[in-house]
């Protein structure tokens, strides 16, 4: 963790004792914030007085770029938003386009989307918890979690040829059908994941050191979670039972039997453990989807290459690994979007950091940042 001392200015305690408040720049710590996550921390001794995230280092103007591309050309841009969970932005964007242009999606494509997005959720959570575990020094857990992620990335590579930016979900369906035997390998993965799940849970969340580092750190009350617009596991760990898959169902999720994982205390421990147990629910969904999927096309027949929806606007959101990821699209009747806005969950969740980190020690700040699981591609857009 590179730290540079920027300045120090004198202050005094209420009884007049002079103390020095130290301003520290915290560099990249969470691997999904590599190179671009910066927090200016005001320290009183070891205690965080004020923490201010400075964002925008990865701002690429994707919303502006979308205005000069056709609706189909925007799909690869959405890959670059949440680069550890590309499928979600793909899907959310495609749903907005489909809503705007009135495109129907074949059922097989909906099942494939559900399968890849639930696999993506496991992959993204493995990255999220693994990385925050590595922040606290638990490197073994990171390697174990990354091993699971690797299996999923291999499945994706087989499906669409890419390991990071998949560009798999397209308006009107998905780009390719699953190759021969792919569903068997998906089932083999979920079985292996279940087999190793308890070990994974005990390895980190059963560890006395991890418990000591995580419990009671960065407590988010349910009221604050709702008021600050937090979503996903960040909000659910505080006891806010809100999951778009259940409470605003889309695609074929109404046919799936699964539970929403809800925490109690809203601290870093619950946020991490919520993510881990969500992976188990994702396995349940994947198994049901694999059992239910039937034949048929995976893309809408006769969909023109050039989509030009009638003037209007549409908003659609899905439950991504980080929360509700929404795309707001405005069409003026031409083949290019007039305006695209990404409602990114990581952006809204990261806004909680100053509140959650205040009063904790500097090393707890790293834990809090990791437990919010921000991805800066999505924060900065």
């Amino acid at each position: 963790m590179p730290m540079t001392i920027e300045s120090s200015r004198p202050a005094s305690t209420p009884d007049g004792t002079p103390v020095e408040e130290l301003v520290v720049n915290i560099g990249p710590s969470h691997p999904s914030t590599h190179g671009v996550g910066r927090v200016i921390v005001h320290l009183d001794g070891d205690i965080v007085v004020r923490a201010e995230p400075v964002i925008g280092y990865l701002h690429r103007g994707i919303e502006k770029m979308a205005e000069s591309r056709t609706y189909l050309q925007v799909v690869p841009l959405t890959d670059r938003l949440d680069y550890v969970g590309s499928m979600y932005a793909n899907w959310s964007y495609c749903r907005a386009v489909e809503r705007l242009a009135g495109i129907r999606v074949p059922e097989r494509a909906e099942y494939l989307r559900v399968i890849v997005c639930e696999l993506q959720r496991i992959a993204s959570h493995m990255m999220g918890i693994g990385a925050s575990a590595a922040d606290t020094g638990a490197s073994t857990f990171f390697i174990y979690a990354f091993d699971h992620r690797e299996r999923i990335v291999e499945l994706f590579e087989e499906l669409c040829g890419a390991r990071l930016t998949y560009n798999y979900v397209r308006p009107g369906g998905v780009s390719y059908d699953a190759p021969e035997g792919w569903f068997d390998r998906v089932t083999a993965f979920t079985q292996a994941f279940r087999y190793g799940f308890d070990e994974l849970d005990q390895l980190y969340f059963g560890n006395a050191i991890a418990r000591g580092r995580l419990k009671g750190v960065g407590v988010l009350t349910p009221e604050d979670a709702v008021a600050w617009g937090a979503s996903g596991p960040t909000a659910r760990a505080s006891g806010v039972n809100w999951d778009l898959r259940k409470h605003d169902p889309y695609s074929v999720y109404p046919r799936m039997d699964f539970d929403v994982v809800v925490g109690e205390r809203g601290d870093a421990y619950d946020r991490g453990r919520c993510r881990l147990f969500e992976c188990l629910e994702s396995c349940r969904i994947i198994d049901q989807a694999v059992a239910q999927i039937s034949g048929g096309p995976v893309r809408t027949e006769g969909l023109r290459r050039l989509i030009a929806p009638k003037p209007g606007e549409a908003y659609d959101h899905i439950e991504s690994a980080r929360g509700s990821l929404g795309i707001y699209l405005v069409s003026d009747g031409t083949p290019k979007p007039y305006r695209m806005h990404v409602r990114s969950p990581a952006f809204c969740n990261l806004a909680l950091l100053p509140m959650l980190a205040e009063g904790h020690t500097l090393s707890d700040l790293i834990v809090v940042l990791g437990s919010l699981d921000p991805v800066f591609g999505e924060v900065d857009r």
Binding site: I55, G56, H59, G61, E63, K64, S68, R69, T70, R99, L100, D224, V226, A227, W228, G229, W242, H247, D248, L306, G312, E313, A314, Y315, H317, S324, G326, Y328, V330, P335, Y338, R339, H341, R343, F347, C348, A351, D380, R381
Partner: protein
């Protein structure tokens, strides 16, 4: 929440807030309410009291003479979502902040200020958020022109 329940709720709010004009549509599955910018804060407070406890999104659309500000509210207890829209003239873009109602607006309004140049009056910390402090211009305005910007040819 059904269409009728939503209509009843909005009529109840409009009864003591006459400026709320019933721009009520369900074209893409969400109710849309339009207000004058002076009445935005009051309407938002009314909607908050009616159960819309969550602000999902704040953004703006450049419509030439005006900027249309879009707020998406959500209620878990009513299981309903609603769009509130207001418009501000391009030559005088300001609107009241809704940070007092939903703290979620804190960063999102800063983003709209950064990219569109809309002033949010009463915002506690209105600074650029995504772009550098010394950046000139507001890139999401349609008339923003930067020679460094790479444009795709109009080949379609």
């Amino acid at each position: 929440m059904t269409h009728d329940e939503m209509t009843a709720l909005l009529e109840r709010i409009a009864a003591h807030n006459p400026v709320l004009f019933p721009l009520f549509s369900l074209e893409f599955g969400d109710a849309v309410v339009g207000v004058e910018r002076g009445e935005l804060l009051a309407t938002c407070r009314d909607l908050f009291d009616a159960g819309f406890d969550r602000l999902g999104m704040v953004t703006a659309v450049d419509r030439g003479e005006v900027f249309v500000l879009v707020y998406r509210l959500h209620s878990r207890s009513l299981s309903a979502a609603i769009f509130v829209k207001t418009q501000v003239p391009r030559h005088d873009p300001w609107v009241d902040t809704v940070v007092d109602v939903w703290p979620a607006a804190l960063w999102q309004e800063r983003e709209v200020f950064d990219l569109f140049g809309v002033e949010f009056q009463g915002h506690p910390d209105l600074r650029r958020i995504l772009l550098p402090e010394d950046f000139v211009g507001h890139p999401l305005r349609k008339d923003y022109d930067d020679p460094r910007m790479i444009r795709r040819p109009d080949y379609i």
